[in-house]
């Protein structure tokens, strides 16, 4: 079956057709492991052996048979596509069902979908990556890519915010990255017991602590929308051009290919025109409470 995938933006041309865009591919669970008390990562391998290449920032629709389908960003290394990695927060029936899967179980995967982080566009610039909570997961492929091509960028800073020290994702990896001399990694939490020796405060409080040239900085931001709005304000005040601020948005994605309209935000379908969008495109839309 051939299907036209939809368009949302004004004047946008019809995209090329896809074969069976709703049909999932079968993947086998290789490993599932906890990241924090309420989040986990799952590693998948294609049953047909054909690896899934993806761009940092893209997502897949993961289908647990008999339960449901959910959009989940890819959190693995784009340069090691043999293993498809997703990091998921257990919040609903489908995510909880994925958590219960065992090695060898089958899961349906559709994708990769959506726009990726504009990594190429950041070449030559300083890079500021700001992650809040589970928002670090969609940013991790970008970090892998930037570090793999480190010489192409100026200063690189990764700022991570979490609710408590126990909620910090990828802790060991953050420690390894912090050990490198070519990236600044700062972590903060909103609440902490006295035994925590790191920063306490919101993630935006880390921005004054890093060095970057605002005029030639590209920022990639992912986290709760309120946190992204505050981060954008702080970066704009410091002179980062609006067109250099990129957000990954979360909406109610169902079809993943711009057909159903569930994830529509103004003229955009977040599943197809996003999830990564420039702030220059969405700034006004984010301030509208009705959408």
């Amino acid at each position: 079956m051939k299907t036209d995938i939809g368009t949302a933006g004004p004047g946008r041309q019809t995209e090329p057709t896809l074969d069976d865009p709703i049909l999932p591919r079968m993947f086998q669970v290789r490993r599932i492991f906890s990241e924090t008390a309420d989040s986990f990562s799952c590693e998948l391998q294609p049953s047909d052996g054909e690896v899934m290449h993806f761009s940092p920032g893209q997502f897949n629709m993961l289908y647990v048979f008999g339960v449901g389908e959910i959009p989940i960003s890819i959190s693995g290394n784009p340069d090691k596509p043999k293993l498809l990695v997703h990091t998921i927060r257990s919040v609903g029936p489908a995510s909880k069902a994925i958590r219960r899967l065992k090695r060898g179980d089958l899961i349906g995967v559709r994708g990769p979908y959506g726009t990726g982080w504009p990594v190429k566009g950041a070449e030559g610039n300083d890079v500021v990556i700001v992650a809040g909570g589970i928002g670090l997961a969609p940013l991790r492929p970008l970090i892998y890519r930037v570090l793999a091509e480190r010489e192409k960028y100026g200063r690189v800073a990764l700022l991570v915010g979490a609710r408590t020290p126990g909620d910090i994702l990828f802790q060991r990896q953050l420690e390894r990255w912090r050990g490198r001399l070519d990236i600044d990694v700062l972590v903060t939490v909103d609440k902490a017991p006295r035994s925590w020796r790191g920063n306490v405060g919101v993630v935006t409080s880390l921005i004054p602590k890093i060095r970057f040239d605002p005029a030639t900085t590209t920022a990639f931001v992912c986290g709760p929308e309120v946190m992204m709005r505050f981060t954008a304000m702080e970066l704009e005040v410091r002179g980062v051009p609006t067109s250099n601020l990129h957000f990954s948005l979360e909406r109610n994605m169902k079809c993943g290919i711009g057909l159903c309209g569930h994830c529509q935000l103004g003229p955009y379908f977040i599943c197809k025109d996003g999830p990564v969008l420039g702030l220059d495109k969405i700034k006004k839309l984010m301030a509208l409470r009705e959408i």
Binding site: G133, D190, K191, W196, V200
Partner: protein
């Protein structure tokens, strides 16, 4: 040889751009301090007669609650300013501040500064403008913290 704090203070983000005369007035009220990890810089309800510009190290702002013990509200580090209760009657601290690690800071005598500000409104305006920016930033941060955005 006695080394003045002026060049060090002129480098602090909080004091950047302050005119030389006002900086001199501040230097007259300033001294260097050092705290070992675990030492308190200030305690809740004590008289607030100073503020700190942190040069090195990290300080936790804490509030003590009978049921939950001390809660860390925020941490401050290099270049950050600690304390504005010296500006507001009844001049008592509303929180504890504890050095998490070896901390070096410049402490400024608030009583001395209050009287200088009374005599020199321009200095008072300069200082209050700078403190207002810190207070505004912390208020915004507190609002964001209260939203507990990572919960859902």
């Amino acid at each position: 040889m006695h080394q003045t704090l002026e060049p060090i203070m002129a480098e602090q983000p909080f004091l950047k751009g302050l005119d030389a005369e006002h900086l001199q007035l501040l230097v007259g009220c300033a001294s260097n301090v050092r705290y070992e990890a675990g030492q308190y810089l200030l305690r809740e309800s004590e008289e607030a007669n100073q503020f700190y510009i942190i040069r090195h190290g990290r300080v936790a702002i804490e509030v003590y609650t009978p049921n939950r013990g001390p809660i860390v509200i925020e941490t401050l580090g290099e270049g950050d300013v600690l304390g504005w209760s010296w500006l507001v009657p009844p001049y008592n601290w509303r929180f504890d501040a504890r050095a998490i690690e070896l901390t070096r800071a410049i402490v400024l005598d608030g009583k001395c500064l209050r009287s200088k500000c009374e005599q020199d409104y321009q200095l008072g305006y300069e200082l209050l403008s700078r403190f207002l920016q810190i207070i505004e930033r912390r208020l915004q941060a507190t609002r964001l913290q209260l939203l507990d955005v990572y919960k859902d």
